[in-house]
Amino acid sequence: MMSSRCAACKYLRRRCPSDCIFSPYFPPNDPQRFSCVHRIYGASNVGKMLQQLPSHLRSQAADTLYFEAQYRLQDPVYGCVGIISQLHQQINRAESQVAKIQAEISFLNSNAQEVEEPQVDQHFEANSNFINNFLPEQINTLDLSPYGLPSTQTSWFN
């Protein structure tokens, strides 16, 4: 009555050996998980990718393969690259906001100096330094242009 085959071997209609590479990561109670990665990567590629990793990393690899496969099925054109582009845009906007607020603060700081509030000057200067130092020197925004992908369009998700 009990099926000892993993979801992969069930899907592939084969015997599930004791050392099956898929078995720990594609349990029989979640057939959709393997079906998803199989559609995008193929069983052979998934097996190879897992086989080439140390065993303690395979679980994470299987999870992320599943994640990417799901997104590719949902969005066959961009997959999870669409998410990356969106995040880039949001980071750019957030950086602009930070810069804008800093400019506001600088402007008001100079106003505050005119109003003769020396204690406030030190306070705001210290905080301006805090904000400036808190910004990373260089945010690693990946340039997608070598891959021929547009970076500003938002119509992808329609």
């Binding site: 052979s44 990718m49 679980s59 995040l87 607020i101 800093q102 891959y147 992908l149």
Partner: protein, 216 residues
């Protein structure tokens, strides 16, 4: 697209895919428009990760005008997966999410700073009022990748364990504390309404060993 197609066949130069697969590049080759012969690595990577037949199937399910973007995004994903066989693109998503959260915290701090000027009665000729109104009407910027009841278990790459953060509500609340931060900045529905809550939680991973993937 059609011009590139004709160029590949008329120049008698097989496309990168057919070169790799060691076959004749037919005029109707589905790969030719997107895998020019001068970019052999692009197809090699895609083939390693996805396989030629899977790519063919994917492309055949798309309109011709969508295929170039699809191929380029597949090439990107393949490249990321080969660079990081454990996390692939997901690692990058995690990093970017982390960066975005950091920036959003900075915005929150900066807005607090700004509000102090209001408290001190420095109006900046109406600038503060205008700025406050502007920020309160920000559009949704954040991306909703959050969900799941995951714990933090991966400590090697700190950003990786944030990939499966906790409940969405909890996350929004943490930014919506009394800092006048607009929680809607965090929330944006992914078009597919795909929630991470359905994904299993990451288990501990120690290394980022990079291994090459043999060609299939």
């Amino acid at each position: 697209m059609r011009a590139r197609w004709n160029m590949a066949s008329s120049s008698n130069s097989p496309c990168a895919a057919c070169k790799f697969l060691r076959r004749k590049c037919q005029p109707e080759c589905v790969f030719a428009p997107y895998f020019p012969p001068d970019q052999p690595q692009k197809f090699a990577n895609v083939h390693k990760v996805f396989g030629a037949s899977n790519v063919t199937k994917l492309l055949n399910e798309l309109h011709p005008h969508q295929r170039e973007d699809a191929v380029n995004s597949l090439a990107f994903e393949a490249d990321m997966r080969l660079r990081d066989p454990v996390y692939g693109c997901v690692g990058l998503i995690s990093v970017l999410q982390h960066q975005l959260r950091q920036l959003q915290m900075e915005i929150s701090c900066a807005k607090s700073e700004l509000s102090k000027y209001q408290n001190l009665g420095i109006t900046g000729h109406g600038l503060i009022a205008a700025a406050a109104n502007n920020y309160n009407h920000q559009q949704n910027l954040g991306i909703n990748l959050i969900g799941g009841g995951g714990g933090v278990r991966d400590h090697h790459h700190h950003y990786h364990h944030q990939f499966f953060p906790r409940d969405q509500q909890q996350m929004i609340r943490s930014f919506d504390g009394g800092n006048n931060y607009d929680a809607s900045l965090l929330a944006m529905n992914v078009s597919a309404n795909l929630q991470l809550s359905q994904f299993p939680q990451p288990r501990a991973a120690a290394g980022d060993d990079r291994r090459t993937i043999d060609p299939s």
